[in-house]
């Protein structure tokens, strides 16, 4: 008896000693917080979080690979405790929620016949793959069953609907979906995401430089969910009020409805929801990540700078904007006239961005008042140069420096800065871009009796927005196409006329437009008392010549050289984008550049390296072009309300109006809700054609 107790105790003692020694010898230094979090977690080892047990989950949380709400059993209470333990406020942790990628409208129900399966995965196993679409939802609702929190319901359209309030981001639906079209997304992921060839991208979404999820926001508008629609836009574009007014809609050029019909008025809809927020009296809150303590200086407050500031702030970085002029907005404020974008509205929009907590210093010039040394001394981690393209190309003809000749940007900037700008009786504008038309239409409103636009190519080659050209013609601006200025005629050192030469179109040049060739002996003189040249712009990079300025390389077009994939310049902590990198472009391209720069800067200051984007979508994905649209009935496009011609003259009242709610719902209903291969058909047209098919059979 005694011996047996002794032996048993002996073995136990021996085991304890060995374990004790082993624990000492094989001690692995571990972050003590892992143990702390382990104690908070329920310890069920259920694996619901996607990690191998609670200890692995705790480790992932400490390493920031998992969110504090990773535990699916503990829910909010545990998440709060962990957040408290790690010293962050629970609100500051940005939740990941499940988002469906397929928008497939009525299609799922129409397309598939699943022979009695009740589970997507069973259907996949049986058919050894998807039936028609490589991307789309099968629509049997396996994700609905997989969700333990009732956050997913099956919508009327055979597509799952996700309730973000109930979603805890456990990822059970992601795992259950055999098509891989549900993903866990946080705001951060959405901001940093860039289009890839492997995604289901509607044509408009491929064409939009800012990569706004257009079908998604139009579907929201269709359902009357204006707030969600606007937040969808703001995932990619913080300036919907301005874009909704000045964007020439590259997206609409790709609209699939165009095959049978006029394109959807995408920008009308964007403007409608943007104005809906503005008129509602309160701003929709956008999530902002907790501060990372990193500082970024943004030089220039144009669309690129503002966009980068907005997204970098939302990613949790401290952003400071430095602006040379007294007002923010860059070309939006000093280039685009009041009748296209009222400054009061612009102020409201910019205020919304600044309210996130962005520091602004105006009237400081980079290279003079603020130098790289100062920024370095103030410990900025990165600098984003978005100084735009403000210098104007000269006409390079005789008499250019005579009084009465000025540049388009110069003219618009002086006028918008509040200077008293007087125009002549007959104003000639040289050029065919938006700046030329802005200067022309502004001169008309400032009291010019006659305004002519001289352009060396024909109307079809004009780079200005088509809508602007139409409006200018309506307002009585005269166009002289295929004419190039050759000499400025003066009288008493003042402009009295311009000699122009007729041109004809020759072979296409590099840009694909036909090159104008002068016709010999066709000179004539047009009388005028003011000439505005608006034939092109390039960046004003004089600040680079300052001694302390960074040593950046410049192209022959006077744009800054940077990597196309990262927007990083030769100096790793300096990034650039927008007009000063690409040369003058559209506002929406500057918005895109701002977000792209924000992505690069975010990775650069947090991880040191900027990961390349795999399969980055650059070209139009060819498969998405349909030749015909089946069962899509013609539905006329609405017209934006325009102010009458009488009301336009002499004032700078906004010319285009915002569509009303009824029109917005109608226009949203014209959207085919396209995927890459698919689109929604019109229900009535579909039924009709089915009946016809039945009748003929």
């Amino acid at each position: 008896m005694f011996l047996s107790v002794l032996v048993l105790s002996g073995i136990g003692f021996l085991a304890a000693v060995i374990l004790g020694i082993a624990a000492k010898v094989f001690y692995v230094k571990e972050d003590p917080r892992i143990k702390g979090i382990m104690d908070i977690l329920p310890g069920a080892n259920c694996g619901g979080c996607g990690f191998a047990g609670c200890s692995a989950c705790a480790e992932a949380i400490v390493k920031d690979e998992a969110k504090v709400n990773a535990c699916v059993l503990g829910q909010a209470e545990v998440a709060n405790q962990i957040a408290e333990y790690l010293g962050m406020s629970p609100m500051s942790s940005e939740p990941q929620i499940a988002c469906p990628d397929c928008q497939g409208g009525l299609r799922a129900a129409q397309k598939y016949d699943y022979s009695g399966f009740d589970d997507c995965r069973a259907a996949m196993l049986f058919y050894h793959g998807p039936l028609h679409c490589e991307h789309g939802c099968i629509g049997l609702g396996t994700c609905v069953k997989a969700c333990m929190f009732g956050a997913i319901t099956m919508g009327d359209d055979s597509l799952p609907q996700f309730n973000p309030d109930l979603c805890v981001g456990c990822g059970a639906c992601v795992e259950a979906c055999p098509k891989g079209i549900i993903s866990l997304l946080s705001e951060k992921t959405k901001i940093l995401h860039w289009n890839q060839n492997t995604e289901c991208l509607a044509p408009c979404r491929q064409k939009c430089p800012a990569q706004i999820n257009i079908p998604k926001y139009i579907q929201h508008i269709k359902r009357g969910e204006y707030a969600q629609a606007l937040l969808t836009i703001k995932e990619k574009n913080p300036l919907p009020v301005s874009t909704g007014r000045v964007c020439p809609e590259p997206c609409a050029l790709a609209c699939r409805r165009k095959i049978n019909d006029k394109p959807v008025g995408i920008n009308y809809l964007k403007r409608f929801v943007a104005d809906w927020e503005m008129n509602s009296g309160q701003r929709l809150p956008v999530p902002v990540a907790p501060s990372t303590g990193k500082k970024i200086a943004i030089i220039g407050s144009g669309p690129a700078g503002l966009t980068a500031a907005f997204f970098l702030k939302r990613l949790g970085h401290d952003v400071a904007i430095f602006e040379k002029r007294s007002g923010l907005g860059g070309m939006l404020r000093y280039g685009i006239p009041e009748y296209r974008l009222p400054k009061k509205i612009l102020d409201w929009e910019i205020d919304g961005i600044l309210e996130l907590g962005i520091n602004v210093t105006t009237n400081v010039e980079f290279g003079k008042d603020i130098t790289m040394d100062i920024l370095r001394a103030e410990e900025y981690d990165a600098v984003f140069l978005a100084v735009g393209a403000w210098n104007e190309r000269e006409l390079n003809i005789e008499g250019e420096n005579i009084e009465g000749v000025c540049g388009g940007i110069d003219f618009l900037e002086r006028f918008h800065s509040g200077e008293n700008v007087s125009v002549g009786k007959h104003v000639i504008i040289v050029g065919g871009g938006n700046t030329a038309l802005d200067a022309a239409r502004s001169s008309l409103r400032l009291g010019a009796e006659k305004v002519s636009v001289v352009y060396r190519r024909s109307r079809d080659e004009m780079p200005a927005n088509p809508a602007e050209i139409v409006a200018a013609e309506e307002e009585g601006i005269q166009f002289r196409f295929l004419s190039a200025p050759t000499r400025i005629v003066s009288e008493d050192a003042k402009v009295s006329g311009m000699e122009v030469q007729k041109m004809e179109l020759g072979e296409p040049d590099d840009s694909g437009r036909r090159r104008p060739v002068p016709v010999e002996g066709s000179q004539e003189i047009i009388e005028c008392d003011m000439i505005i040249g608006a034939i092109g712009q390039y960046p004003d990079l004089d600040f680079l010549k300052q001694e302390e300025s960074p040593d950046l390389q410049v192209t022959k077009w006077n744009t800054i050289i940077a990597s196309e994939d990262t927007l990083q310049t030769d100096m790793p902590s300096i990034f650039t984008g927008g007009d000063c990198f690409t040369g003058p472009g559209l506002m929406v391209e500057a918005v895109a550049a701002g977000r792209y720069a924000a992505r690069s800067i975010h990775y650069y200051i947090t991880e040191g390296e900027i990961p390349p984007i795999g399969n980055r979508q650059r070209e139009f994905i060819p498969e998405s072009l349909h030749k015909i649209l089946i069962d899509v009935a013609y539905k006329p496009r609405i017209h934006e309300p325009n102010v009458t011609l009488e009301d336009r003259m002499g004032t700078f009242k906004e010319v285009e109006g915002t569509i009303d709610e009824e029109d917005a719902l109608y226009e949203a209903g014209r959207c085919l809700n396209c995927g890459i291969f698919c689109y929604d058909r019109d229900e009535e047209a579909r039924k009709l054609s089915e009946e016809q098919a039945d009748a003929s059979a």
């Binding site: 011996l3 047996s4 032996v7 048993l8 073995i11 136990g12 085991a15 304890a16 060995i18 374990l19 082993a22 624990a23 010898v25 094989f26 001690y27 692995v28 080892n45 694996g47 191998a52 047990g53 200890s55 692995a56 009740d118 589970d119 995965r121 069973a122 196993l125 396996t142």
Partner: protein, 191 residues
């Protein structure tokens, strides 16, 4: 030849899970996904082999000489529990990759009756050291085989139209019973 028969007998005829019905807890708990069941199977093979060696040595070199075989069960529990703990500590330091792979399964096996059962069977059958190793590894391999097959079935079950009342563990136990009957077909192949 005898050893081969011993191994085949342990894997198929006297399958630890399906013929003896030991280790039912992980059999139902960790068999929902093929990948986790494979991890569990490998971990069981690893631990069983180690545990069998240690318990065999303790039995024949400590308990037998001192005439204390009645302490067998108590001593084995102690040994297996501390051994698994030791292995966990050791792996964490020395082989992080193996630790991550076997990770959560090791503590689960501490209280696994299949491991204990095999250790006791080794003694009951009076195996020599070499036979003991073959038998232990083969039995654990039988466990792994059964749990992997079962996990495959359960993955299919998950997407099949099962009546509401039978979903989950209920249908799993029925399936396990049918599997057990199927394995009964090996009965008598090896004595």
């Amino acid at each position: 030849m005898d050893l081969l028969l011993l191994a085949i007998g342990a894997i198929f005829v006297n399958n630890i899970l399906l013929a003896q019905y030991l280790g039912n807890c992980p059999f139902c708990g960790v068999s929902k996904k093929l990948s986790t069941s494979i991890g569990m199977g490998v971990a069981v093979i690893f631990v069983t082999a180690l545990a069998s060696i240690f318990t065999w040595l303790v039995y024949y070199y400590i308990l037998m000489p001192y005439d204390m075989v009645f302490l067998q069960t108590l001593a084995f529990i102690l040994i297996i529990a501390s051994l698994v703990q030791f292995v966990e500590i050791f792996l964490k330091k020395q082989s992080k990759a193996l630790y991550n792979a076997l990770g959560i399964y090791l503590p689960l096996i501490t209280t696994n009756c299949a491991v204990m059962g095999i250790a006791l069977l080794n003694i009951k059958q009076g195996f020599s050291f070499f036979e003991m190793i073959i038998f232990s590894v083969a039995s654990a391999a039988g466990f792994a085989l059964a749990i992997v097959l079962f996990a495959g079935l359960r993955e299919r079950l998950m997407v099949s139209p099962v009546p509401q009342a039978m979903r989950g563990t209920a249908i799993a136990l029925v399936t396990a019973g049918v599997m057990s009957l199927a394995f009964l077909g090996f009965y008598g192949m090896v004595q």
